[in-house]
């Protein structure tokens, strides 16, 4: 089968090589600092993500999961190896990527609506029309997204007037408004309570199923990974490398109830064992 650029992904596992590659890391390493103070954050990682896939990265804390995200977004350059995103090597300037961190990082001097429209002010082709369309088309776009995450009528509030869960929803809107082909999420729900988190899983799943971007999600929560991802990569302790790479075949849309079924629990346990082994291996090395 020939490679098709921009082939749509139907949410189900597909045979290898059927779709275009969105993200490719080959032997990518990252070391922070130099000489005696050098801290290896990621060692020779190879990872290939197809267009439209939803990949979750799990692993012990400080294992370099976030480093992979920062590599893909272009915020960090690889010390060695190659990172190819959207068919191009990641240069100093990143391309059309949506990003959301654990901290919602809404700019406090702007209303939620203007915060969400921020990427349109920066990214072409929206940038050139921003002045002309910010009061009409772009505002409608922002409000349509807000409606999709259940934040109707909160557009003209300021960030401090919203709760943590609401801010994180707005954060997802901001990551999606410029219609990125790629969504990079760094523990976006880490600071939320269990119920809000489960609610947002469903919202994110819904957003993914309508917009179909390639998603790379870093998380500590194995249930979250199982609920959302179509593929889960387990990483070893620092310096990180990928230990296991498995597909998640549960039908969509998935529900919270599904996460208590035996099949799901078994997946969780398998992932858990991997991470525990990685942790104890790291401790032995350190000891």
């Amino acid at each position: 089968m020939r490679m098709q650029p921009n082939a749509q992904f139907d949410g189900q596992p597909v045979p290898e090589g059927a779709t275009a590659t969105a993200i490719e890391l080959s032997e990518a390493s990252v070391t922070f600092g130099r000489g005696d103070r050098a801290v290896p954050a990621l060692s020779k990682t190879t990872l290939k993500i197809a267009d439209g896939e939803f990949v979750a990265l799990v692993g012990p804390s400080g294992c370099g999961k976030s480093t992979i995200l920062r590599l893909v977004s272009g915020l960090v350059q690889p010390t060695s190896g190659v990172v190819i995103v959207g068919g191009r090597e990641v240069a100093a300037r990143a391309m059309r990527v949506g990003m959301a961190f654990q901290n919602p990082t809404m700019l406090p001097w702007m209303t939620i609506e203007r915060n969400i429209m921020l990427p349109l002010k920066i990214v072409e082709p929206f940038r050139s029309n921003f002045r002309k369309l910010r009061k009409t088309e772009f505002r409608d776009k922002a409000n349509a997204l807000l409606e999709q995450v259940g934040l109707n009528g909160f557009g003209n509030r300021y960030p401090w007037q919203l709760s943590g869960g609401m801010l994180q929803r707005a954060n997802l809107c901001r990551a999606l408004i410029h219609e990125p082909r790629m969504l990079l999420l760094d523990e976006p729900f880490g600071a939320l309570d269990q119920f809000t988190r489960e609610e947002l899983w469903a919202i994110l799943q819904n957003l993914w199923m309508t917009h179909k971007p390639t998603v790379l999600l870093v998380t500590h929560d194995l249930r979250e990974a199982g609920f959302l991802a179509s593929r889960i990569c387990v990483m070893s302790a620092r310096p990180g490398r990928i230990l296991d790479d498995s597909r998640v075949g549960f039908a969509r849309p998935r529900t919270v109830a599904m996460t208590f079924e035996p099949e799901f629990v078994a997946l969780n346990q398998k992932l858990r064992t991997f991470i525990e082994d990685a942790r104890s291996a790291a401790e032995q090395e350190a000891g």
Binding site: G74, M99, P108, I122, R157, Y158
Partner: protein, 254 residues
Amino acid sequence: MFGIDVRQKAWSAGLIVLFFVAWELFCLMTGMSDLVLPRPSQVFLTLFQRFPVLWPHIVQTLATTMFGFVLGVALGAIIGVSKTAYDTCYPLLIGFSSIPKVAVVPIFVLWFGSGTVPAVLTALSICFFPIVVNIATGLATTEPELEDVLKALGASKLDILWNVGLPRTMPFFFASLKVAISYAFVGAVLSETVASNRGIGNVMMTASSNFNVPLVFAGLFVLAGLGVALYVVFSLIEGRVTGWATRKNDVIAT
């Protein structure tokens, strides 16, 4: 919350009134000569009677102060915004700002003659340092996460400065403006006192050599009044621009 606010303002107003009343009573009871310490009522009377004469001097001082202040803000902002410029200039700036400005005025007078130019330059040189330091501090303490949001979108350095750095720095900037405007007054009046034939500083010098002490005090009152007025103006602008940073009051909410 409303009640507390009003009570606070009443206390502040009360303290001002109390200050003048105590001063008046002190002079009356001790029989103080108005050559040493005039009563506030005398000062206000002098201020009222001599106001037409004082007015051009007030305008002169206000104009030189504002001119020096605007130049100081521009220079301070240019140096403060660029990290390279700030790091390069910093040692020189500290050295320069440590020099008492009284010592510099004669040099300005030597170069530019007495009058407006030295006053503007003194106001500028005394007021721009806090602005530089505050803008640089504001930019340096901007949360990297806020910048990362834009960097991940491929924003240029100018985009980041314009959309994140500068708005984030506004509270620092306004705090420094409120300090700088009083500094600019000090500088302008200082220079007028030493070498000028116009301005409130000059009026006070002339009055004190004529032993017209109430007029000297009237000059002080004018300066205090102008200082307060400009402080209030900047506070109002600050409230509008940086209300998000002091979000306890609902100034800009919805």
